[in-house]
């Protein structure tokens, strides 16, 4: 399809493990965003890329979280030494430019830390 694609759709892992979550944005979209959504809450901003560079990473909760977008398209969110509090739905969005354009979301990765 032509939408934002996120894989895996579900991920269950044990506390302390490392996880990678992948986002394929809409083709041609230069801006890419990661959000985290807990049950009953709105999405919370994590990080935003313009091309290959992280333009704003102020939402990353701590240094266990890291994201890359090496070729300006696919992005990977990486979480080290996972904790139970990291359990949430991780959403990715993309937009054509960074100038007040609608962000289009994928269906997210549901991460469960046991």
């Amino acid at each position: 399809g032509a939408g934002v694609s996120q894989t895996p759709s579900n991920k269950v892992t044990e506390k302390g493990k490392y996880v990678e979550l992948r986002c394929d944005p809409i083709s041609g979209h230069t801006a890419l965003y990661w959000y985290r959504q807990s049950l009953g809450q709105g999405p919370e901003f994590l990080i935003y890329f313009q091309g290959t560079g992280a333009a704003d990473d102020s939402g990353l909760p701590n240094d266990r979280f890291f994201a890359v977008r090496p070729e300006g398209s696919v992005s990977t969110l990486k979480i080290q030494r996972t904790e139970r509090g990291d359990s949430a739905v991780y959403l990715c969005a993309s937009s054509p430019t960074h100038s007040n354009q609608p962000q289009h979301f994928g269906d997210g990765t549901r991460l469960s830390i046991l």
Binding site: G40, H98, N100, F105
Partner: protein, 114 residues
């Protein structure tokens, strides 16, 4: 529609009625606002957006109203249908360091009764 605590505000309407979902935003300098619809297990779906230089914008069956004086946003859905049942989020883009991040409210759950 304004979020209070951890419980989603709810709105229940009859099929065919008009729905109004309200949202209070936080930053008086925000210049871009957007409404999303989120169904269970899915990512947020773009409905309509509005820039701060406008006070009303219409789409297909939806209208967004912006009142900057009281920092209030509303979404009006005409002739509500069962397929409109979902959680609705408003979001703002606060002008912080040129970031395009969105700040979401906690959402309103709309239930449309046949």
């Amino acid at each position: 529609g304004e979020s209070v605590g951890l419980h989603l505000p709810t709105l229940s309407v009859q099929e065919g009625d008009n729905s109004i979902i309200n949202c209070a935003y936080s930053n008086s300098a925000s210049d871009y606002f957007i409404w999303y619809k989120q169904e269970s297990g899915k990512g947020p779906q773009f409905i309509i957006d509005i820039r701060s230089n406008m006070d009303k914008r219409q789409g297909q069956r939806v209208t967004v109203l912006l009142n900057k004086t009281v920092k209030h946003l509303s979404l009006q859905i005409a002739a509500t249908q069962p397929g409109d049942s979902a959680v609705y989020f408003c979001a703002e883009n606060p002008p912080v360091g040129g970031s395009e991040k969105l700040v979401f409210g906690k959402g309103t759950k709309l239930t449309v009764n046949p």
